[in-house]
């Protein structure tokens, strides 16, 4: 349960710390699901930004959650813009080579953990953002629309298509196995 920043119980530092404990894994997961380079550093940036305005947040715990993911979404947009301006040069890694064929053992190990996140990452940007904000961040339809600066109707359409795509990806995965 997220604390209300305007509550009179405890200190402001305690309320901020409670918000960090509750939300930081979700912020990290949201940023990871979108392939941010250094998601931990980006998560810290998000909470430093939240701390600057924490005392003036309205709307109680839901307001804190919405504002936190608004900041995280803004950082994500900044990251993608920076990446588009300056393509990142990375050294050659044999494991990242698309011509590399995984062994049966590696394939089985991949499926033990992370397969659901891998399926999520295969969605298009907008669908992935809607699904991750709904599932990982735990935002409502209206809050997601507010964070993404879109209408509720377009978010509803995106989430339905995103879920159908996920279902199809999963069916294909099962057939491949």
């Amino acid at each position: 349960m997220l604390p209300d920043p305007s509550a009179h119980s405890g200190t402001a530092t305690d309320r901020f710390t409670a918000a960090y404990r509750e939300l930081s894994p979700r912020v990290l997961g949201y940023l990871r699901s979108h392939g941010v380079d250094d998601p931990e550093a980006a998560t810290n940036d998000v909470f430093l930004g939240l701390h600057a305005v924490f005392d003036s947040v309205a709307g109680g715990g839901d307001g804190v959650r919405t504002l936190t993911f608004s900041i995280a979404h803004a950082r994500l947009v900044d990251f993608h813009r920076a990446q588009a301006r300056h393509p990142r040069n990375v050294p050659f890694e044999a494991d990242d080579d698309p011509r590399y064929a995984v062994s049966a053992e590696e394939s089985a190990l991949d499926r033990v953990g992370g397969v659901a996140m891998t399926l999520l990452q295969r969605l298009g940007d907008d669908q992935r953002q809607v699904v991750s904000l709904r599932v990982i961040a735990g935002l409502s339809l209206e809050e997601t629309a507010q964070v993404m600066d879109r209408s509720v109707g377009s978010i509803k359409q995106l989430q339905r298509r995103g879920l159908e795509s996920l279902r199809a990806l999963m069916a294909r995965e099962v057939i491949d196995v």
């Binding site: 530092t13 810290n44 990982i136």
Partner: protein, 206 residues
């Protein structure tokens, strides 16, 4: 099952899809499995007491005493230099004291040689340390005929210039030359110059 996932499925009219429900639950579980470590800056914001404890302390007593000692030594050196410029008598006393203090505080900078000769002008004890060549040229300074043969070598001059006392000691035997030194003893370098003139050319005294 968390509420947001159920709500999402209902809104999308997929509430009967159990496989999708499990998949969304798995996505949530995998996403929040890792708890991030707060950075130092964020930790300081969430824990102001420990951040205050980690602030750098004031300079230690040993550090402050070293600074005070340094200031005292520099002040003493400055005072000695001023007094030496003002009074030849004070120069010899304070100069010796400052040299002793500097020697104590900078043992590594002083070459391990015998102690330097004392800075007393026209001291009789300096006579044995005189360069023989300077002494030889001193004599001819009174005799104009020796000028042609007794021209001092540059090395002898340099030695006399470097060692101020050698010149005065060279003149110690001649009372007229000593008088001229008394006139020109504005500072220590004046001694060296006087010696050079005595060595190189005709006697400077009237």
């Amino acid at each position: 099952m968390s509420d947001p996932i159920e709500l999402l499925l209902i809104e999308s009219e997929l509430e009967h899809d159990a496989v999708l429900r499990d998949l969304l639950g798995e996505i949530e579980h995998e996403a929040i499995a890792v708890r991030p470590m707060p950075s130092a800056e964020l930790s300081a914001l969430m824990n102001p007491r420990s951040a205050a404890a980690r602030r750098p302390r004031r300079r230690s007593f040993a550090g402050r005493s070293a600074i005070i000692t340094g200031v005292v030594v520099i002040g003493a050196l400055g005072l000695g230099a001023t007094a030496a410029a003002a009074s030849p008598e004070a120069r010899s006393v304070i100069g010796a004291g400052v040299a002793a203090i500097a020697h104590l505080f900078q043992p590594a900078l002083v070459a391990p040689e015998p102690a330097p000769t004392p800075r007393h002008p026209a001291s009789g004890t300096d006579v044995p340390s005189t360069d023989p060549s300077a002494g030889a040229s001193d004599g001819p300074s009174a005799d104009p005929t020796a000028d042609a043969t007794g021209e001092p070598s540059p090395s002898a001059d340099a030695t006399a210039g470097a060692n101020n006392h050698s010149g005065s000691s060279g003149h110690s035997g001649d009372s007229k030359s000593e008088d001229s030194h008394g006139n020109s003893t504005g500072n220590q370098s004046g001694h060296g110059n006087g010696t050079g003139q005595g060595n190189g050319g005709p006697a400077p005294t009237p």
